[in-house]
């Protein structure tokens, strides 16, 4: 497999917050690749640098050093590549899921999904239909017109997942998506992500600190003090 076909490629990725005496090295020389359709868990204690990794790959948090290649496009090489349109890459190639669901409070479940589609130039009519289908497939068919405040934690998180999936992104980044959920709902969400990785052949990075949640994942990366240790891809898969 040539490098063009990795969904995520990270090389010596480093993030240092602040300068001088107060500088914090949150991430140091992370290097790994993730294939399309691969479901990867990132485990590590609080403050180890998991979110930093995710936001650097997610084009939210500018890396200090190192390279990031997303779906074949070089996006960071010692800082963002000059002239890059981060928002456009985010809406076209990435999907985000967070601990707090981050739904827009004044939009209904369906409208929250429609927003993601409409900013990607999907017509309102098509967006409406696709949002309804997507939410239906996540068992939210009866919740289309509910505001986030009327949804349970698990339902809200599934709406957020629907929003992240709406544009069928190549890369889905999930930061502790189950933290606000009970074990039952948490397991359901993880199972859902697993299914999606296969169906959409998206690379999915899931940050969690709960070991019980990671069964069935393709690989597990562990982060300690900003250093990441990841099992390499199996020989045949390189």
């Amino acid at each position: 497999m040539d490098r063009m076909s990795y969904a995520i490629e990270v090389e010596k990725l480093t993030k240092i917050y602040g300068r001088g005496e107060t500088a914090v090295t949150a991430l140091l020389d992370a290097t790994f690749q993730v294939k399309p359709g691969e479901l990867v868990a990132i485990l590590g204690p609080s403050g180890s640098g998991k979110s930093t990794l995710l936001t650097a790959i997610g084009l939210i948090n500018e890396p200090t050093r190192g390279r990031v290649v997303l779906d074949g496009a070089l996006v960071a090489d010692g800082g963002w590549v000059a002239g890059i349109d981060l928002k456009r890459l985010r809406r076209e190639k990435l999907g985000f899921i967070f601990q707090a669901h981050n739904l827009i409070p004044f939009l209904t479940a369906q409208e929250n999904v429609m927003v993601a589609l409409e900013i990607n130039r999907v017509s309102r009519h098509d967006a409406k239909i696709r949002a309804a289908e997507l939410l239906g497939s996540l068992n939210l068919g009866r919740r289309l017109n509910n505001y986030p405040s009327a949804l349970s934690g698990g339902e809200a998180q599934r709406v957020a997942i629907a929003r992240a999936l709406a544009n069928v992104p190549k890369v889905i980044l999930a930061d502790e998506p189950t933290a606000a959920l009970d074990t039952e709902n948490g397991k359901n969400v993880m199972a859902l992500l697993k299914k999606l990785a296969v169906e959409n052949s998206s690379a999915i990075l899931v940050v969690t600190h709960d070991h019980r949640m990671v069964e069935g994942f393709d690989r597990i990366f562990e982060v300690h003090d900003g250093r990441i240790s990841c099992p390499p891809l199996a020989e045949g898969e390189r």
Binding site: K87, F96, L107
Partner: protein, 400 residues
């Protein structure tokens, strides 16, 4: 999907409340414009209803609306004789204040020649004055019923007709009587005064030893007639014959030396420039202050509503919304609020404007100008929110 409208829909109560508040403010701004136009319309009401080309007034005065102007009534004959003059008619004006139902009751009494012009412009109820004496046509604003009586000077006057919204330049409703009645009311002395005048004339004449009794009697009659004469008016108005030259007619009247002919245009300038210029500036200043207050309020509302939405904005940025989506949301919200507040203010004013004590005239031009100003204010006000929104980092969506 329109995010501005969705947000408003979700916070509908809050939005309506702020819009109504803002609407009241804009309604006041609108009404001030209307009051100014009303002042204008009031000031010119009598002038416009009279439809005269020339107002002949006392020499060296600015006419009856600005100061005291007294000229003899019979000058109307001389004016009629001027080439180019088609009609001339004497008018008298007087502001009266009486007690009515225990309250001060102010009105503007217009006396006109029943055979001339300058009388009530329309009769909406009852009839016009037919008899030379003791009949009165009241403007709507007098709130008088047909048949009602009003005691003026030495006599009772009966309301025989109602005319439209005629007011004096200070906004008091007008009442019409015949010129001779008006002259009586304005100039006629009561019997005591007449008696003492006659006694004084007698006393003065009796000091002149050389007068024969016949001469004394003759003089006494003449002096008393002059002293008791009421044949004075405040102005004589004239209409020109078609094709007559205004400046030539004025020139001619000017040459008589005792009168000043004012063209309709000069008269209207005296009424507007001198009398309502200060009120205009005052109202203008208030409008500017209120508009500045509205601008500050809109800015504050937009700014705080942007602060409320920081997380929403960060989330939108995170999922890759272009800036125009975020700018559009804030700008549209600001414009919607301004336009809806404007509409509310306008509706409130429409429902209440005829209940204002003074006339309010809503000119389409003024309304459109205000709408344009409100839109500009909304756009400027949204800048503070937009500036804040553009600085929001997508990472701010992650915390908590």
């Amino acid at each position: 999907m329109n995010l501005a409208v969705r947000d408003i829909r979700y916070h509908l109560g809050r939005f309506i409340l702020t819009s109504v508040g803002l609407g009241l403010l804009l309604g006041v701004v609108m009404s001030m414009g209307g009051i100014y136009r009303g002042l204008f319309a009031d000031a010119l009401a009598v002038l416009n209803h009279t439809r005269a080309d020339i107002w002949v007034v006392q020499q060296d005065t600015n006419g009856p609306f600005a100061e005291n102007s007294r000229i003899p009534e019979d000058i109307k004959y001389r004016i009629k004789g001027v080439p180019g003059v088609a009609q001339a008619s004497p008018l008298s004006f007087e502001t009266l204040q009486l007690e009515r139902g225990g309250r001060p009751f102010r009105f503007f009494l217009i006396g006109y020649d029943l055979n001339g012009f300058g009388g009530p412009p329309v009769i909406t109820a009852g009839r016009n004055i037919r008899q030379k004496h003791y009949e009165l046509v009241a403007a709507k604003g007098m709130n008088m019923a047909l048949g009602e009586k009003l005691h003026l000077g030495l006599h009772d006057y009966t309301v025989v007709g109602i005319t439209g919204k005629v007011v004096s330049s200070s906004g008091d409703p007008a009442a019409y009587v015949s010129l001779s009645d008006a002259q009586d009311i304005q100039f006629k002395k009561d019997n005591d005064a007449i008696r003492s005048d006659r006694a004084r004339i007698d006393a003065n004449l009796s000091r002149i030893q050389t007068l024969s009794p016949t001469q004394t009697k003759f003089l006494r009659q003449n002096v008393a007639a002059i002293a008791e004469s009421t044949h004075t008016v405040n102005t004589v108005v004239a209409r020109l014959a078609p094709g007559a030259d205004l400046s030539q007619v004025k020139e001619r009247i000017n040459r008589w030396n005792h009168f000043r002919p004012l063209s309709e245009e000069e008269q209207s300038r005296i009424l507007t420039k001198g009398m309502i210029e200060k009120a205009r500036m005052q109202l203008g200043l208030f409008r500017i202050i209120l508009l500045v207050i509205s601008a500050v309020i809109i800015s504050l509302i937009i700014y705080t509503s942007t602060l409320d939405k920081i997380r929403v904005i960060a989330t939108l940025k995170l999922i890759g919304s272009p800036n125009r989506v975020i700018v559009g949301m804030i700008l549209q919200q600001s414009l919607l609020m301004g336009v809806i507040a404007y509409a509310i203010g306008y509706l409130l004013l429409l429902m209440t404007y005829d209940k204002f004590p003074r006339r309010i005239v809503l000119e389409p031009f003024d309304l459109r100008l205000l709408l344009a100003i409100v839109i500009v204010i909304c756009i400027l006000a949204s800048f503070v929110g937009i500036r804040k929104a553009l600085k929001v980092e997508p990472a701010e969506a992650l915390g908590g």
